[in-house]
């Protein structure tokens, strides 16, 4: 087997790896490095880029728009994650029942998952239309004073959270379902012999054994929700050509880059976002010992 040694072997390695590695270097690695250097530069795409040290970061921390975007991002996370975390767990327990119709529910809750964010954002933008949409007539019917939704910042954020929970519910539930089905039936059989009722079984067996899945779900939800973009870009109404009722970190980055041509400033902001995600993921990994239960330990 001559090809397994020496130059012959490297020829094969090169043959299989070169397309991927060269493309990854040019279109992923190079951009990451460029982005990092851009964070310390001022560049409007027209005049040559200029090194300005930490000025982008200094400006950012004095920029009200940045703090507002950070606040909206965090508020989105605080509203969205607990909602989807708990509702999806309920849905997963339901999908795990041995009942007729469960498959129909799974199919239906997964429909929004495969639809594009643009389509979902536009459908809900139309549903939340205060005059002609679907939701306000229903709210008025039950006597609730309906807000103008996407026309005001607070209600717009709530609308975005509702839309996001609706879209992601089936996805998170299916992740939980994998964890639920991995729990060994013998635990439940033993509990039944000891006379545990369904509630006790859920809190004493299901939940503790599900914590590894919950941990994984939480990490993914946090990483994804810091990067919330499409629905915030498309749904809220605008005050002016550029400003939406709600801006989050990613929309702020994109606006600075592509509306104001501030490539350096926008890159600096994207690295602050990356750093935030990185630190929070790291802290979570360190904290997992406190609440995640691994059977093997």
């Amino acid at each position: 087997m001559t090809w397994q040694t020496g130059w012959n072997k490297w020829k094969w390695v090169l043959f299989f790896l070169a397309p991927s590695l060269s493309g990854l270097s040019i279109f992923i690695l190079l951009p990451i490095l460029t982005s990092f250097t851009l964070a310390f530069q001022d560049w409007n795409l027209l005049s040559p880029p200029e090194w300005i040290g930490l000025a982008n970061f200094q400006e950012m921390f004095a920029d009200a728009a940045f703090w507002s975007a950070l606040r909206y991002t965090l508020t989105f996370i605080v509203l969205y994650i607990p909602s989807v975390f708990i509702l999806a767990l309920g849905l997963a327990v339901l999908l795990n029942q041995n009942m007729r119709g469960v498959l129909v529910v799974r199919t239906a809750t997964f429909l929004p998952v495969v639809a594009s964010w643009v389509v979902v954002s536009l459908i809900w933008k139309w549903i939340f239309n205060p005059q002609y949409g679907l939701i306000n007539p229903i709210l008025n019917l039950v006597g609730i004073q309906a807000p103008a939704w996407l026309f005001e910042p607070g209600a717009a954020l709530v609308a975005i959270v509702i839309t996001s929970v609706w879209k992601d519910l089936g996805y998170v539930a299916v992740m939980y379902l994998g964890g639920l089905q991995a729990i060994n039936d013998t635990f439940y059989e033993a509990a039944k012999i000891d006379g545990a009722n369904p509630r006790q079984q859920f809190f004493r067996i299901t939940l503790p054994l599900l914590t590894p899945t919950m941990f994984f779900v939480l990490i993914i939800l946090l990483i994804n929700s810091f990067q919330v973009f499409d629905q915030v870009w498309l749904m809220p109404m605008r005050d002016s050509a550029a400003d939406r009722q709600v801006e989050v970190l990613v929309t702020e980055v994109v606006k600075n880059a592509f509306s104001y041509n501030r490539m350096g400033y926008a890159s600096a902001m994207s690295w602050v976002l990356f750093a935030l995600i990185f630190v929070i993921t790291f802290v979570q990994l360190r904290m997992q010992k406190r609440w995640v239960y691994y059977e093997s330990e």
């Binding site: 090809w3 094969w12 790896l17 397309p19 590695l21 493309g23 990854l24 992923i28 690695l29 190079l30 951009p31 990451i32 460029t34 851009l38 795409l45 327990v93 339901l94 999908l95 029942q97 041995n98 129909v104 239906a108 997964f110 495969v114 639809a115 594009s116 964010w117 643009v118 389509v119 536009l122 459908i123 139309w126 005059q131 002609y132 679907l134 007539p137 996805y171 992740m175 379902l177 994998g178 089905q181 729990i183 439940y188 039944k192 009722n197 369904p198 859920f202 990067q227 973009f229 499409d230 498309l234 605008r238 994109v254 880059a257 592509f258 890159s267 994207s270 976002l273 990356f274 990185f278």
Partner: protein, 293 residues
């Protein structure tokens, strides 16, 4: 993953009477019906709006079933944008991206899973590390690169940068590693080279993982918005999601929601049909992907 397995939570306990069980069942079915309604009604509302004439979308309270039914939103949309072209753009870009991504990822996955070479683990760690970087960090320099290459408003800009995501390589490598080496060893003894092994053994025996990646790539490309938004805005290359976004943009004025919803139907229908036919791969794919690209 088998998603319709036996229950983990027993319905029957020694304290329940048959009457309590049926109350519980009725409640569960009520919840299930409500859930299906909440998931389906927004799509139904999209379809219903797209089948209404302009003046009927402004009725209050809104009518769920359009009367009269009309296709004029679709013909109106076709007058506004070159619909056939936009659908072709989306389809062409998605198919090319999917094929390219699978070929490139599978080849790299083979190099990582089966060939022995110095530095393999280091390079693979580098691949994994790129998966951690949020796409917004890369979108600005990628745009600049596309501009310098003169690719703005070309299919190349929409296809080439998306071919090289580390996730596809990672997914297929996992699958390749799970395959017993017996077949390959037998083939080697018969004098086969890695090229033959790759095409005759690795690809055919890893079809489930390849199917999962196919679904994910196609869906990702067809639904993609952030990157195409800035590299392909001309009508010759614009894709469906970007065209839809342009259609509904504008100041506080009421946009023509029947046209927008007709566009939404055209965008979402192919994916929903494929999903209903190949549910298993979608569920598996989406769950395995996890983090946003």
């Amino acid at each position: 993953m088998n998603l319709s397995r036996s229950p983990s939570l027993p319905i029957r306990t020694n304290t329940s009477t048959p009457a309590r069980i049926s109350v519980r069942r009725v409640l569960l079915y009520a919840v299930m019906i409500a859930l299906v309604a909440i998931m389906v009604i927004p799509f139904a509302w999209m379809l219903s709006t797209s089948l209404k004439a302009q003046q009927y979308i402004l009725e209050t309270p809104p009518r769920l079933f359009p009367n009269p039914l009309t296709m004029e939103s679709y013909t109106g949309l076709a007058e506004r944008i070159d619909l056939a072209r936009v659908v072709f753009n989306s389809g062409f870009v998605a198919i090319a991206t999917t094929i390219g991504q699978i070929v490139i990822s599978a080849m790299a996955a083979y190099a990582f899973a089966r060939l022995q070479w110095r530095g393999r683990n280091l390079v693979f760690t580098l691949y994994l590390a790129t998966m951690m970087v949020p796409s917004v960090v890369m979108v600005i320099p990628q745009f600049i690169l596309i501009r310098q290459l003169g690719w703005v408003n070309t299919y190349t800009a929409l296809i080439v940068p998306s071919l090289f995501n580390a996730f596809g390589t990672f997914l297929l490598r996992q699958s390749f590693l799970g395959l017993p080496k017996d077949f390959e060893e037998a083939a080697f003894v018969d004098g086969a080279n890695p090229f033959t092994i790759f095409f005759r053994i690795m690809l055919p025996l890893n079809m489930p993982a390849i199917a999962t990646l196919t679904v994910l790539s196609f869906m990702g490309s067809w639904n993609s918005y952030l990157f195409p938004l800035f590299v392909a805005r001309k009508e010759e290359v614009i894709t469906l999601p970007v065209a839809l976004g342009v259609l509904q943009a504008g100041p506080r004025a009421l946009t023509e929601w029947n046209l927008v919803m007709a566009g939404a139907v055209i965008t979402v229908l192919p994916i929903l049909i494929v999903y209903l036919l190949a549910q298993k791969w979608f569920v598996q794919g989406v769950v395995s992907s996890g983090i946003k690209g």
